[in-house]
């Protein structure tokens, strides 16, 4: 339900609403304009029709008069089935002894005698006459006026009805068209956005896939695909280079370690053995940094297979706490943990590695108390590893994270900078973030490193 509501909201947002309004106004103007045109045409046709009707009635009455005289004419004028049967028609007969009116209050003034013309009837404003009438002089004393009044009200109602219907249909059509347009637009922009998001998260194989209509969207699609192609090629190159770099750099290190192994076995001099052990440890450290840097670059470029599964984060952190507890105890550090069950979609190995890095850092820099908490609220899983060491000043935190990523700290304190950067890389690989904060208000404040991950909601609605 929520999803549908969100979709509709998306369809009706900003641009779409404006499009709907535009459509509506445009369609309405067009429809109204054509109605006006029809109306004007209709008026002309109706007028011509009335003129003809008046002409016909006059000719009929004149015929009656010619064959039967005035008395026959009167009879014809009175006859409801006669030439004046149409209630719109009227007539008047002016004789020497007075006027006789048929369906009209008075004889209109200035009635033309050749063709029916406009006359004011029933006392209306003479500047805007609605009647049509024609006059015929029967003899010196007798004049016949035949006319028709306008049958306007019916047409006006029909027109109003048509206008209202047009309004409703236009609104519906505009709405449907806008929804359809919105749907199409949304679908095409969503495809582009989806690809951009996939690219941003490191899936460089993502391409916008849509049949081409050779429009603006296709232009965008082509550009995005071209960009993705180039990124993909560069990343593949980088991958090849780093893989061969790993091979080239790590093999000599392997030989150094092998040689040191041999030397250690051969020597019986304890001082030499101690020196060899030191060199061996350094070689191991060098190798670890190399591996760390390579892993990190792989993670940061997203060049890692998707091995995410729903992971009980509390269990994962709990296992690590159990792993490190004896070590902490041997150093006089206690680990307190508060673990609230929470599930996140994660690569368990990477996440365990990130958390173990943070615990090792906390052990290194903390004084005597370490907190490992896992909580779940507002759709976010938070893994907080807090120590009671000197902490990092608020203004240095961003630069600290940024600097770490260039391994500056790793140079002075091996492994440490990598640990934090690795944790940040793992967090971002999982669509999460890393937060640095004071662990407490005390002095020294200590450092809290929190990995924030989106919570995993089981069910078909959750997308991978």
């Amino acid at each position: 339900m929520k999803r549908i509501a969100r979709r509709l909201q998306g369809l009706l947002s900003g641009t779409i609403v404006r499009l709907v309004l535009g459509f509506f106004v445009l369609q309405f103007v067009i429809a109204t304009g054509s109605l006006m045109l029809v109306r004007a045409r209709m008026d002309t046709i109706l007028t011509a029709d009335r003129i003809e009707q008046v002409d016909d009635a006059r000719n009929a009455l004149l015929g009656t008069w010619r064959s039967g005289g005035v008395s026959a004419l009167r009879q014809a004028l009175d006859d409801p089935d006669g030439p004046l049967g149409d209630p719109a028609l009227f007539a008047a007969l002016r004789e020497a002894d007075g006027d006789q009116l048929y369906g009209v209050d008075s004889i209109p003034a200035a009635v033309p005698s050749a063709r029916p013309g406009r006359v004011a009837i029933d006392g209306e404003d003479p500047s805007n006459p609605s009647g049509l009438a024609v006059m015929a002089q029967l003899n010196r004393d007798t004049t016949l006026v035949v006319g028709a009044r306008k049958v306007g009200s019916g047409v006006a109602i029909a027109f109003a009805e048509a206008a209202a219907l047009t309004l409703v249909i236009t609104a519906l059509v505009a709405m449907a068209a806008a929804l359809a347009l919105g749907f199409v637009l949304n679908r095409r922009t969503a495809a582009i956005a989806r690809t951009a998001r996939a690219l941003a998260s490191g899936n460089f194989a993502a391409r916008v896939d849509h049949p081409g209509y050779r429009d603006g969207f296709d232009e965008v699609r082509d550009q995005i695909n071209a960009m993705a192609e180039r990124i993909d090629r560069l990343v593949t190159e980088l991958q090849t280079i780093s893989a061969s770099l790993a091979h080239d750099l790590r093999s000599p290190v392997a030989r150094v370690r092998a040689a040191l192994d041999n030397a250690w076995k051969l020597t019986s001099d304890p001082a030499a053995a101690a020196a060899i052990e030191l060199a061996s440890a350094d070689a191991e450290g060098l190798d670890r940094m190399l591996v760390g840097a390579l892993d990190l670059s792989r993670m940061e470029t997203g060049m890692i297979a998707d091995r995410r599964i729903p992971v009980d984060v509390a269990e994962l952190v709990g296992d690590l706490v159990e792993l490190y507890e004896p070590l902490a105890e041997s150093r006089g550090v206690t680990i307190a943990s508060e673990l609230e069950t929470a599930t996140a979609l994660a690569d368990p190995e990477l996440l365990a590695r990130a958390v173990s890095n943070l615990i090792e850092n906390a052990l290194k820099y903390g004084a005597g108390q370490l907190h490992c908490n896992c909580s779940c609220s507002d759709g976010l899983v938070r893994i907080a590893i807090c120590d009671d060491g000197v902490g990092i000043a608020a203004e240095d935190r961003d630069t600290a994270l940024a600097r770490f990523s260039r391994l500056d700290h790793a140079r002075t304190t091996p492994g440490v900078g990598l640990g934090l950067t690795m944790a940040a890389a793992v967090a971002s690989l999982h669509g999460g973030t890393i937060e640095l904060s004071d662990a407490s208000a005390a002095d020294p404040p200590g450092l809290c490193v929190t990995i924030v991950l989106p919570v995993y909601e089981a069910g078909p609605a959750a997308d991978r």
Binding site: H247, R250, R257, P326, R353
Partner: protein, 228 residues
Amino acid sequence: MSGKVLLVEDDDRLADHIIAGLAEAGYTVDRAGDGRDGLFLASDNGYTAIILDRMLPGMDGLSVLKALRAAQVSAAIILLSALGSTDERVEGLSAGADDYVAKPFAFSELLARLQAVCRRSGVQQAGAPTRLVCGDLVLDRMKRTVQRASRSVAVQAREFKLLEYLMLHSDELVTRTMLLEHVWGYHFDPSTNVIDVHVSRLRRKLEDAGGPPLIQTVRGAGYRMVAG
């Protein structure tokens, strides 16, 4: 421990070093310098184990591995690679490798894993024992109890697993990485001595129960369980 091992490695110096070490440990070693030779020699069979480099001239290690498995070569195969990432390891293991060692490695690590895979193929035929015995120490895998000289030793679940793994590989070198992998299920290399502390705890518990020490520390390499 002895057996016939094939080493497929293009790096001459590393190969010499490995061959010397393996010979010292009592193995007979043949060497191939590239993938094609390796595949040819390995198909001839008779090897207990094959140590296979991942990056080889001619035919890469993974293809050799797949070809060997497709040809029903049953020798234990350890993949050797400078590519130590999870992806590479999972890819190697799913292609049929028995273990995966990332370069550079300490020779003791390779030897320990070689012994483990060679033994594993033997154990699979014999079936896993439910009672493990090392001197006066008895571990019952069904009842999940540990006894030393008939006295019960209280161990936690993880300590039980740790002891079980050490006893399964008694008289063999077991490295810290192997313990972290098989007892805790982690595939990373912690820079701290986190495993040592667990082992010394377990060792203390066993020694408190009386008797000689059973878990030896092998300097610079790992541990070995030896009947006192």
